[in-house]
């Protein structure tokens, strides 16, 4: 099948010795990345960021600080104007060249979960595994749903689930592709305060067990400090500080 988007997403420059220039242990590395929408103001401004293996990295910032746009750049939903993005030692974006999202080892849990309303929970989870056989897909989906504690909901439709359950389905769906990095966009903001802490712990535990590095966007400092191994504060398109929660 022809890919009509190849004009937009040109193949990246050869990976070369990207790993050598990356900080040791980095799974995801953004190097002086800049971006703006059309001719609008610069949203991400020469930003550099590193997420290490097994790390839960929180990106803290007010709304409009550019953190969601940064997530879109890392996922491949936008192309940076300048800079370089390396994931697992592979350059996925450099200058105006970028790999399309479907070819990056990245999982995304969207703020509103974005479960496909016309597909059952099981089929939502299967969605990203189209390269596998049908039997493998459904077995893998079962296993993932077991991991997030929703085995019994496999046949349910998304609209019958609670917010916390939907969040876990979205997590299982994103995990199905075995991503190296999981991007979480305010994943707990839709849940009520009582539930939030519990869901967060389960979510991060599942991700740690899977050995996936996590970049989590949040505007809640308490959440960032409670959950993350490292907290980067973003303001006006740049990282202002980056520290372990204890140091901060």
């Amino acid at each position: 099948m022809t890919r009509p988007d190849t004009a937009q997403h040109d193949p990246p420059t050869p990976i070369g010795d990207a790993a050598a220039t990356d900080p040791p242990g980095a799974v995801l590395h953004a190097d002086t990345v800049s971006f703006r929408y059309g001719r609008g103001p610069t949203v991400v401004d020469r930003l550099s960021l590193t997420v290490c293996r097994g790390e839960v990295h929180a990106l803290l910032g007010a709304s409009g600080s550019g953190k969601s746009t940064l997530l879109r750049l890392l996922a491949g939903l936008e192309r940076p104007d300048a800079g370089r993005i390396v994931i697992q030692g592979r350059t996925v974006a450099e200058g105006r060249h970028a790999l399309p999202p479907e070819r990056r080892p990245v999982g995304v849990v969207f703020q509103d979960y974005a479960l496909f309303p016309h597909l059952s929970v099981e089929r939502n989870v299967c969605f990203g595994m189209s390269h596998r056989s049908r039997r493998e897909r459904f077995a893998a989906a079962r296993e993932l749903l077991h991991r997030v504690g929703l085995e019994d909901k496999a046949k349910a439709m998304p609209h019958t689930l609670s917010g916390g359950q939907q969040q876990r389905v979205a997590l299982a769906r994103a995990l199905a592709r075995n991503p190296a990095v999981m991007l979480l966009d305010e994943p707990f903001s839709g849940l009520d305060a009582e539930l939030r802490g519990r869901v967060r712990e389960t979510t991060l535990q599942v991700l740690r067990d899977a050995g996936v590095a996590v970049l989590m966007v949040t505007h809640d400092p308490a959440e960032a400090h409670a959950a993350a191994d490292r907290v980067s504060v973003m303001r006006a398109g740049r990282i202002e500080t980056s520290a372990m929660p204890d140091e901060g």
């Binding site: 059309g38 999982g107 979960y113 309303p117 990203g128 609209h159």
Partner: protein
């Protein structure tokens, strides 16, 4: 002293009393407007006579096959065009998109019969196109093949090009809801743009597209003017000819009942599609739409795909009638415009006033007592919209003439005087018929308006001592004003465009613009009708323009951003 009892007791009594009045009113109005449907269905009980046997042996198979081919083809073409145009407009950026976004609705203003008249005039043997071809190529009239407008394929093209906006509107709102966002989600899960489009965008929009397609089917089954002029025998024209030339009301009613059963299936499909569409929405607020910028070749293709339907469905007919009015129009044009225009104005205004009043009462009744019976009654009242005009006329004439005769018998017995045919002999019959056909339109608008008024408003008014008619007049009516105006406008325009029911129900010497244009076109005197046709298109443009402006404003909320992946990029 027992003030709490004294104040609470009358209130309880009052509420009970009201509970009885509003639902009864709802049920009463609904049964009245449903009379034609019930009369048509009752005709089946009378059994088949000779006429029916003759019809079944001769014309019925043709009605069946023509109607089936027409309905399926029009629905397929209109769905394809409407969906493709909606996808291009919502998710792609190309030159002309801003204009086409609203221009794609314009064919809604051209009734199928007017498009049929215009294209027949343009493309017939003596028309300008063929004449020019003959003159420039030096051919005789029998020397070449040329597509015939007055044929089944001609009717299919004409109806598809005037009806696709129903699908466009439905698909567009579905794609705006989730189109580009769901594509992004699909791509983060490893599916390329084409596969995301096929696996997500289309399935998620399917219920909306199906609902739009069902509307197209309904309109196709109901169409009389275009198919009649194209000489295609369908059920709708069959009902008319059976009623008129065979002078057989029972057979016409039985034929109507058969058509009605097809319509009922379509209405069922539509209701199911709408019901399903509720679960095909992504949760959460609407997301910004990101449109893919198309390259030059793709842009040209998109422009052609979205522009052609507008050209064929609107610009063509409007230009043909304008040219005709300017070049060939004669002194009769003004007379036609004034006499028939004022007739149309009067019946449309009266009908829309009555329809809005009835719809308001039903909607208020439904709000006051939202029990299943009142709900069912309001649905019944709205269902007349699906009734083809010819069926409506056949179903209404029998009960009305029965009523007329009863009235005459009564006055003869009491006063020794016959008033004549009060209902069937005057414009009353058409106005009653319009209520059945268009009450649903008014009701939909007004119910949407009521939805905007929170129930706390009613509670507040009642806590301040106002309820019942006072609540309706002092709180609801002022808040509902835009909805009432919109409802009145829609009914007015629908009445102005309506052809078959008016043709069959009108009294002698009372023609509306649509009927006059129909007669002149059938007499091959289309030029005289051109001004009237333009007036119909002009009036029908009003709601389309308002709809376009609403769409334009709604669109303004979605910021334009650089493209994500797009299957048609």
């Amino acid at each position: 002293m027992t003030p709490p009892d004294a104040s609470s007791r009358p209130r309880v009594l009052k509420r009970r009393w009201r509970w009885g009045v509003w639902p009864l009113l709802c049920i009463g109005i609904s049964l009245l407007v449903a009379t034609p449907t019930l009369a048509v269905l009752a005709s089946v009980l009378q059994g088949a006579d000779e006429q029916w046997a003759h019809l079944a042996a001769t014309r019925l198979p043709r009605y069946l096959s023509n109607t089936a081919i027409l309905a399926v083809s029009v629905c397929a073409i209109a769905t394809a065009i409407g969906t493709a145009a909606a996808w291009l407009i919502t998710t792609c950026q190309f030159p002309g998109r801003r204009v086409l976004r609203w221009a794609l609705l314009l064919p809604l203003a051209v009734p199928g019969y007017l498009a049929a008249y215009a294209y027949t005039d343009l493309l017939q043997v003596s028309g300008p196109v063929q004449r020019w071809l003959r003159e420039s190529l030096g051919l005789g009239s029998g020397d070449y093949w040329f597509p015939e407008v007055r044929s089944l394929p001609g009717a299919i093209v004409i109806l598809s090009m005037t009806l696709y906006p129903y699908v466009y509107l439905a698909a567009r709102s579905a794609f705006l809801d989730h189109g580009s966002y769901v594509m992004e989600v699909g791509r983060t899960l490893g599916r390329g743009p084409w596969r995301s489009f096929a696996a997500l965008a289309i399935p998620m929009a399917r219920p909306a597209i199906a609902a739009g397609g069902a509307l197209v089917l309904m309109e196709t089954l109901a169409d009389f003017g275009a198919v009649e002029y194209c000489a295609v025998d369908t059920f709708a024209t069959g009902v008319y000819h059976t009623w008129r030339s065979l002078e057989s009301p029972t057979t016409a009613a039985q034929l109507s009942a058969l058509l009605l059963s097809f319509v009922a299936v379509v209405v069922g499909i539509e209701a199911l599609a709408r019901w399903r569409a509720r679960f095909h929405r992504l949760a959460g607020p609407p997301r910004p739409v990101r449109r893919a910028r198309l390259g030059p070749v793709a842009s040209a293709g998109a422009l052609a795909l979205c522009g052609l339907p507008v050209l064929i469905g609107f610009v063509g007919p409007a230009a043909i009638f304008t040219r005709m009015a300017l070049i060939r129009g004669d002194a009769r044009a003004r007379e036609v415009a004034i006499q028939f225009g004022s007739n149309t104005l009067i019946v449309a205004a009266v009908a829309s006033l009555i329809a809005v009043t009835l719809a308001l009462l039903i909607a208020f009744g439904r709000r006051r007592s939202p029990d299943p019976i009142t709900r069912a009654a309001s649905r019944l009242a709205a269902s007349g919209y699906a009734l083809p005009g010819t069926v409506l006329a056949v179903g209404l004439l029998a009960p009305l003439s029965w009523l007329d005769h009863q009235l005459n018998d009564l006055t003869l017995a009491l006063f020794d005087w016959r008033p004549g045919l009060i209902l069937t002999g005057s414009a009353a019959a058409i106005i009653i018929g319009y209520q059945t056909r268009f009450l649903g339109v008014a009701l939909a608008m007004i119910q949407a308006g009521f939805k905007q008024i929170g129930p706390s408003m009613d509670d507040a008014a009642r806590s301040l001592g106002t309820s019942g008619p006072g609540l309706l007049c002092r709180v609801h009516l002022p808040l509902l004003r835009p909805s009432l105006l919109a409802a009145a406008l829609l009914v007015f325009v629908d009445v102005a465009k309506e052809l078959p029911a008016t043709l069959m129900l009108r009294p002698f010497n009372f023609d509306t613009l649509a009927v006059r244009v129909y007669q002149l076109a059938n007499d091959e005197r289309l030029a005289e009708a051109s001004f009237g046709a333009l007036m119909i298109i002009g009036v029908a443009l009003l709601p389309v323009i308002i709809l376009s402006i609403m769409i334009d404003r709604g669109q303004a909320k979605h910021p334009t951003a650089p493209p994500p992946g797009n299957p048609l990029a």
